[in-house]
């Protein structure tokens, strides 16, 4: 099955915020259009030096949030989106702590809160439609498609217009790669995107330790149990010897 993604071309974006409005409509998000990601804004368009740029969940190929969630409320769909099931969620907010892009938001003032973030309109994708933001974009600045295809398009644009783009496809390798890809005329660090992310998926850092747990349990069990057995055996022998001496 193809794995889908989004290509955001900041150079083409005119800042009309149609994506933000359609996102609110499709996901039933109330409140005004925001400047910052929030429980009511899964995506925001902001402007820096005449460049309009967009922020949203990157839908990592190997997401930290799905790896840390103790109950598997967050899942990476084979289609590409990282989805969330509020009924499973216990509200530990480890996903928010772990996300390298600091994307998930929380309903702090709701007594029955859930995590809020873009889910790439998974139900629309399942129906064979594009995510709302890509569908509504008048400029094609947000483009939906197979990730490999989008990467080719992004590379072609960078090659054809090296003067107009910084030579960086954000999301190609960041944190092991993401389903959302971005290209821009201004360095991503200047736009507030984390630019020092490792190229390896972050969950590997945890898994190298976690996968050793069975060995640790087995080894420590044998060692500590062995120590107990030796000490105990010696004490038994001591007692027997003392007893024998007594009789003699």
């Amino acid at each position: 099955m193809a794995t889908y993604g989004l290509l955001l071309d900041f150079n083409t974006c005119i800042g009309c915020k149609a994506c933000m409005r359609s996102c609110k409509e499709v996901n039933n998000l109330s409140g005004p259009l925001g400047q910052e990601l929030s429980a009511e804004n899964y995506t925001v368009v902001n402007t820096y030096k005449d460049l309009n740029y967009r922020k949203m969940c990157m839908h990592c190929l190997t997401p930290s949030c799905t790896s840390v969630c103790p109950v598997g409320a967050l899942k990476k769909s084979e289609l590409g989106p990282v989805t969330y099931d509020g009924n499973k969620c216990i509200g530990c907010r480890y996903c928010m702590v772990a996300c390298p892009f600091s994307i998930p938001r929380y309903e702090w003032n709701n007594p029955r809160p859930v995590v809020r973030k873009c889910i790439m309109c998974i139900s629309r994708i399942e129906q064979g439609k594009e995510p709302a933001c890509a569908w509504v974009c008048p400029m094609g600045a947000t483009r939906f498609g197979e990730r490999d295809r989008l990467l080719d398009i992004a590379r072609a644009r960078l090659t054809r217009h090296p003067d107009k783009y910084v030579n960086h496809i954000y999301g190609e390798k960041e944190a092991g790669g993401t389903s959302v890809l971005m290209i821009s005329s201004i360095a991503f660090a200047d736009l507030g995107f984390r630019s020092t992310l490792p190229q390896e998926p972050l969950p590997d850092l945890t898994w190298t330790v976690l996968r050793k747990i069975p060995n640790i349990v087995f080894t420590a069990g044998i060692v500590v149990g062995g120590i107990w057995w030796v000490i105990n055996r010696r004490m038994e022998l001591d007692r027997e010897n003392n007893g024998n001496n007594h009789k003699a």
């Binding site: 969620c89 907010r93 600091s102 938001r105 850092l205 107990w228 000490i231």
Partner: protein, 379 residues
């Protein structure tokens, strides 16, 4: 074994603030569960884990480490002479884990789903592993604690049954503790860019385990001192002096591992840059070095006041370490300027107060401490 008669005279000047904390705690509990986390906490999207995670859970689990340390020494390494301090250690650990769980109920956004990790599995999650270990270890502690009650009630059959499973039970408890004490450190392995380099390390799980061992000894020493004061009972002082030696050794191992790691990573210069993190790190190190120094001088180590302060600084040092990892070290990257709200602090105080009250009530009515004659060996 007969329980000695213990009388507790609460100091009257303590009564008012305690009552105040209890009343405020109840009110804030209602507000917390009626209006949500935002009403009472200073948490935000940029800083989703605050005092309740850093203090109630991450510190709380460490401070309850005395239970697995002492059961390991007395049952597995057969050092039976530590038995007089074993029961208070089990009680503290048991209450500690109950407090951690209650603290977690306040912190979780959907506490009614707390049982979900039982049936919804994600073995890739450290949180999932911690949840299982804490659940299982709390069960072990509950069993160890019930054996104390069974003994007091002279339920002979139950006592015999407990004796039969004591060693495997204790072994399970030690393994579970080793796992989740270290895993609390592993929780932060996935945030190499968010946690300050003075605390982020691939050795976080090892650091957390080694410091848990140290604080386990320190807590047993400290609670023996405090309970002997409050309950007007004797003090097993020569036992505590020996535990002080273990504490000294555990702290040195912890510091050696931690400092060589920081040195090799080349991040020690952050300690001297005058930043909040640098100062917090120096405080943490200062507390450990003070404790080690006090224990290194024989006259101080062998004096009651000296040993007391050595244990107290060790406990504060480990608490500083845990708060630095979970709060201070996460601050600068989040750009959130988080500081716990009064309500967060009050709820934490409320839980600790409840724990202390239950501890001394249990000590009053249950055979937690040995009868005066046995306990009074120091005199």
């Amino acid at each position: 074994m007969k329980t000695m008669a213990i009388t507790i005279k609460p100091k009257t000047f303590l009564l008012l603030p305690v009552l105040l904390v209890l009343v405020a705690g109840v009110v804030l509990t209602v507000v917390r569960f009626t209006y949500g986390l935002g009403k009472v906490t200073a948490l935000s999207d940029a800083f989703p884990w605050g005092l309740w995670v850093g203090f109630d859970v991450v510190c709380g689990v460490a401070l309850a480490a005395g239970g697995f340390i002492l059961t390991a020494i007395t049952y597995l390494f057969n050092a039976e002479r530590y038995k007089p301090v074993l029961r208070p250690a089990i009680l503290t650990a048991f209450l500690g884990y109950i407090l951690v769980s209650v603290g977690l109920l306040y912190d979780l956004g959907k506490p009614w789903n707390i049982w979900h990790p039982l049936v919804m599995w994600n073995p890739h999650s450290v949180m999932f592993e911690v949840a299982w270990c804490v659940m299982l270890y709390s069960t072990v502690l509950a069993l160890e604690f019930s054996s104390i009650i069974a003994e007091a009630m002279k339920w002979k059959k139950v006592v015999t049954a407990f004796h039969a499973i004591a060693v495997p039970l204790v072994l399970a408890g030690v393994l579970l503790s080793t796992l989740h004490q270290s895993s609390l450190g592993s929780l932060f392995l996935i945030v190499p860019l968010k946690l300050h380099p003075l605390w982020y390390s691939s050795l976080l799980p090892l650091n957390f385990f080694l410091s848990a061992v140290a604080v386990g000894f320190a807590m047993v020493i400290l609670e023996s001192f405090i309970s002997s004061r409050i309950l007007h009972r004797g003090l097993e002082f020569d036992l505590l002096v020996d535990l002080g030696r273990f504490l000294w050794f555990a702290e040195i191992v912890f510091l050696a591992v931690r400092l060589q790691d920081l040195f090799v990573s080349g991040v020690l210069h952050y300690a001297m840059d005058g930043s909040l993190e640098g100062i917090a790190f120096l405080i943490e190190m200062g507390l450990f070095f003070t404790s080690i120094l006090l224990l290194s001088i024989r006259r101080i180590h062998n004096s009651k006041i000296g040993l007391f302060f050595a244990a107290a600084t060790a406990v504060l040092g480990v608490m500083a370490n845990r708060l630095n990892v979970s709060l201070v070290g996460m601050l600068s990257d989040s750009k959130s300027g988080y500081f716990p709200s009064w309500s967060e602090i009050t709820i934490s105080l409320f839980l600790v107060t409840m724990g202390v009250i239950v501890f001394f009530t249990a000590a009053r009515y249950l055979p937690i401490f040995p009868p005066e004659k046995e306990a009074d060996i120091s005199k």
